[in-house]
C-alpha cells in the first residue's frame, strides 16, 4: 500500500466521521450506528498507515505527510474517547474536523509527501507533544468562551451556575492536556537538547499559561465565592494562551527560541 491508494482511505474515514456527526446532531437518537462509523473512520486510516509502514519497511514517522497521518489517528481517537466519557459533541466535532483537515492537507499537497523534518524534530516525542497541545488549546479556548458567556449572563442578571460548572470541567481537562504538553516537551528536550527545562520563551509562555489556569482552578476551590472574578480570570487567561500560541514570534525576548519558525 502506498500514497496512490490514499484517497480511498481518506474519503472513507472522512465520510464515516461526517456521517456519524450528522447522525449525532439529528434530534432522533440513533444507537450503535454512529459508534460503528466513528470507529470505522479510525480503523480505515489505521489500516492505511499499517499498509504504508509494511510497504516502506520502516515506521512512517519521517515526513510531514506521515506525521499528519498520526495526528489524524490520535486526535480522532482522543476526541472519540472524550466524547464517550464527557458527551461533549462540540469536542468530538472539533477533533474529527481537525483530523479530516490533516488528512485533507495530505491529499491537496502531494509534493509534501517527501517534505522531510529537520534533525531536532525527528523524535518519537514530536507527535504526542503536538497532539496534546492541539487538544489542550481547544479545551482552554472553549473554556474562555464560557467565561465570556458567563460574564454576559451576569450582565443580563441571569444564572451562571450551569455555565461555570461546565467551564470548570473543561478547564480541568484542558489543564491536564496542557500539563501533558509541558511534560512531554520537557522529556523530549532532555533527549534533544540535553536539559529538560531551559526557559526557552515558548516554554516560559506555556508555563505562564499553565500558571494562569492553575490560578483559576484554585480560585474556584471555594465554589460560591468570587464568581465574577473567576469569569474574568478565565476570559483573560485566553490572552496569555494566545501570546503563547501566536504572539511569541513577535516578542523581543523570544528571538532565539527553538519554537520560533520562520
Amino acid at each position: 500500500m502506498n500514497w496512490t491508494d490514499y484517497s480511498i482511505y481518506m474519503i472513507l474515514s472522512s465520510g464515516l466521521w461526517i456521517l456519524a456527526l450528522i447522525i449525532l446532531v439529528l434530534p432522533r437518537k440513533v444507537k450503535v450506528i454512529p459508534d460503528i462509523f466513528l470507529l470505522g473512520g479510525v480503523v480505515s486510516i489505521v489500516i492505511f498507515t499499517i499498509g504504508l509502514w509494511l510497504n516502506l519497511e520502516r515506521p512512517p514517522f519521517r515526513t510531514l505527510a506521515e506525521t499528519r497521518l498520526w495526528y489524524a489517528i490520535f486526535i480522532s481517537l482522543i476526541g472519540i474517547i472524550i466524547y464517550y466519557r464527557w458527551k461533549l459533541l462540540w469536542m468530538l466535532a472539533y477533533s474529527l474536523l481537525m483530523a479530516i483537515l490533516f488528512l485533507f492537507i495530505n491529499y491537496m499537497n502531494p509534493d509534501t509527501f517527501d517534505k522531510t523534518l529537520m534533525p531536532a524534530l525527528r523524535s518519537p516525542w514530536f507527535i504526542p507533544h503536538v497532539i496534546v497541545y492541539i487538544i489542550g488549546y481547544a479545551f482552554l479556548a472553549v473554556s474562555s468562551l464560557m467565561g465570556l458567556k458567563g460574564l454576559y449572563l451576569m450582565y443580563r442578571n441571569k444564572s451562571t451556575d450551569k455555565t461555570i460548572k461546565l467551564a470548570d470541567n473543561i478547564v480541568y481537562i484542558g489543564f491536564a492536556f496542557l500539563t501533558f504538553g509541558l511534560l512531554f516537551g520537557a522529556l523530549w528536550a532532555k533527549e534533544a537538547w540535553g536539559h529538560y527545562w531551559t526557559w526557552d520563551p515558548k516554554e516560559t509562555w506555556a508555563f505562564l499559561t499553565w500558571l494562569v489556569y492553575l490560578l483559576y482552578i484554585h480560585f474556584r476551590v471555594n465554589k460560591r465565592k468570587y464568581v465574577k472574578s473567576s469569569l474574568w480570570i478565565l476570559s483573560l487567561a485566553f490572552v496569555v494562551l494566545l501570546i503563547c500560541w501566536f504572539g511569541i514570534n513577535y516578542l523581543p525576548s523570544a528571538q532565539n527560541s527553538v519554537h520560533v519558525y520562520s
Partner: protein, 412 residues
C-alpha cells in the same frame, strides 16, 4: 462582623501582604547585594536541606495546632503564592534574559536574570512551603481522590525542588571534537575549562542530507520567493516543473559534482556540491536557456541562472536530515568503548550523557569537527519521578474532570 487585619483565620489580605513583602524584600536584597547572581548549595548540602524541609513541614504540621498552620495550606495562601510567582514569570517572559552585569535598573533588580535573582528564590520558597503543607494536609485519608491530589501536588513539589536545588549539581559542558584527536577538556557556558576524568576521540562525523531543492530567487531581496512563485522543488533527474512563466526541465543531476573545462562532472572530491543541468523555457517569449546550477560549497562557488531583471533560479544548500558522530570514549589509556550519537539520540556512558549539538556549518557535510555537549545531572531520576507523578495525576483530571459527587459526572 468583619475580621480585623492579621486576625486569624488569615485570608487574601494577609496572604497577599506576605507575598508582596517577600517580593519587595527580594528586590531590596538584589539591589543592595554586591553579588550578581545566586548559586544554590551543592551536594550533599542541597540533599540535607531537602530532608530538613520535608521533616520540618511534616513534623510541624502534625505537632503544632495553630491557625497559622491552617493558613499555610489554605486557598488564599496558594493563590497569593501562585499569583506573585506568575507576575515574576511574566516579567521573565517579557524582558530578554541576558548575562549583562551592572548598569540599568532592570539588571540591578535582577530582572535580566530572573531565575537567579532573590525575588525568584524567595517566592519559589514561599510557593514550596505552601505547596508542601497543602500536600501533607491532603495526604490523609489516602483515598483515590486524595491520591490524585497527592500525585499532582507532591509531583510538582518534587519537580521544583529537584530541578532548582539539584541544578547546582548539574554539569553541562561543551566539547569541540576534531576527527582523530583525543580531547579531555570541556568548557561550560561561561567559557571556564574543565579537566575530565576521561577522554573522547571523534572517529567519524556523518551528515545525511535531504535532496537539494531549486526555486526562484527575487534578485531585489536575494531571498527565495516561496509564497509568490510556488514552492521549492526537490531535485531529481528528468524533473519537469513550472515556476511562474518558466518551464523547467532537469536533464542531468549529480549528487556531487565538480567544475571542469566543459561544465561539471560527477566527482567524489571533498567539497563537491550537488549539481544539475537544466533547460528553461519562457512560455511567453518561447526563449530557451540551458545551463548548470549548483548550491556550491566551501570550495565550489554557487551558480544560478538569470531569468529576467527580477528573477533568477537557484539551488538551495541541501538541508541536513540527520548528523551523527562515532566516538571513542576512553576511561583509561587502554580501555575504551565506541558509541554513536545523533541529534535526539544521546548516549549514556560513565554517568555522563553525550549529545550531538553541532558541527562546522561552513564545511557542511565535509565537516571534520563535531560539537558535543556532555551532561551530568544526578538529580534527573528524581525530576522524572515528579514528572511521572504529575502525568498520572493529570490522567485522573482528564477522566474525572472537576467532580465532587458521582451523580455530577455526566455533563450535558
Amino acid at each position: 462582623m468583619r475580621r480585623r487585619f492579621w486576625e486569624y483565620p488569615w485570608g487574601y489580605r494577609e496572604s497577599f501582604t506576605i507575598g508582596i513583602v517577600l517580593l519587595f524584600l527580594g528586590f531590596f536584597i538584589e539591589l543592595v547585594s554586591p553579588v550578581d547572581a545566586i548559586y544554590l548549595p551543592r551536594w550533599p548540602f542541597n540533599f540535607i536541606l531537602i530532608l530538613v524541609l520535608i521533616a520540618y513541614i511534616y513534623i510541624s504540621y502534625r505537632m503544632v495546632k495553630h491557625p497559622f498552620m491552617k493558613w499555610l495550606s489554605s486557598v488564599p495562601a496558594a493563590i497569593s503564592s501562585i499569583s506573585l510567582f506568575t507576575i515574576l514569570v511574566l516579567l521573565l517572559g517579557f524582558i530578554p534574559q541576558t548575562d549583562e552585569s551592572g548598569g540599568s535598573l532592570l539588571v540591578d533588580l535582577g530582572l535580566t536574570h530572573v531565575t537567579r535573582s532573590w525575588p525568584y528564590i524567595l517566592l519559589s520558597f514561599y510557593l514550596l512551603i505552601i505547596l508542601g503543607y497543602t500536600t501533607v494536609r491532603r495526604s490523609f485519608p489516602l483515598n483515590l481522590k486524595n491520591f490524585a491530589f497527592f500525585l499532582n501536588h507532591a509531583g510538582l513539589w518534587i519537580v521544583i525542588v529537584a530541578a532548582s536545588l539539584g541544578s547546582s549539581d548539574l554539569r553541562r559542558l561543551n566539547m569541540t571534537l576534531q576527527e582523530n584527536q583525543a580531547v579531555f577538556r570541556a568548557y561550560d557556558g561561561e567559557g571556564r575549562a574543565y579537566q575530565l576524568p576521561f577522554a573522547i576521540k571523534l572517529l567519524d562525523f556523518h551528515i545525511k542530507e535531504y535532496p537539494p531543492s531549486i526555486g526562484l530567487v527575487d534578485k531585489n531581496t536575494g531571498q527565495f520567493a516561496i509564497d509568490e512563485m510556488g514552492q521549492l522543488i526537490a531535485v531529481e533527474k528528468g524533473l519537469n516543473t513550472e515556476f511562474g512563466q518558466w518551464e523547467i526541465n532537469i536533464d542531468e543531476y549529480y549528487e556531487s559534482g565538480f567544475p571542469d573545462s566543459t561544465g561539471y562532472t560527477e566527482s567524489e572530491r571533498v567539497g563537491a556540491p550537488p549539481v544539475v543541468h537544466m533547460r528553461v523555457r519562457n512560455t511567453i517569449t518561447d526563449e530557451i536557456k540551458a545551463g548548470w546550477l549548483t548550491s556550491g560549497s566551501f570550495i565550489v562557488p554557487n551558480k544560478f541562472m538569470h531569468l529576467s531583471d527580477r528573477w533568477a533560479i537557484a539551488m538551495r544548500v541541501p538541508a541536513p536530515m540527520e548528523y551523527s558522530s562515532e566516538i571513542r570514549f576512553f576511561t583509561s589509556m587502554k580501555e575504551y568503548e565506541d558509541i554513536t550519537i545523533k541529534v535526539n539520540k544521546p548516549a549514556k556512558i560513565n554517568g555522563w550523557t553525550l549529545y550531538q549539538t553541532g558541527y562546522d556549518e561552513r564545511m557542511g557535510k565535509w565537516s571534520q569537527v563535531s560539537i558535543v555537549e556532555i551532561v551530568k545531572d544526578p538529580w534527573l531520576p528524581v525530576v522524572y519521578v515528579g514528572i511521572f507523578m504529575m502525568l498520572l495525576g493529570s490522567l485522573y483530571l482528564v477522566w474525572m474532570g472537576r467532580t465532587t459527587k458521582k451523580t455530577e459526572n455526566e455533563l450535558d
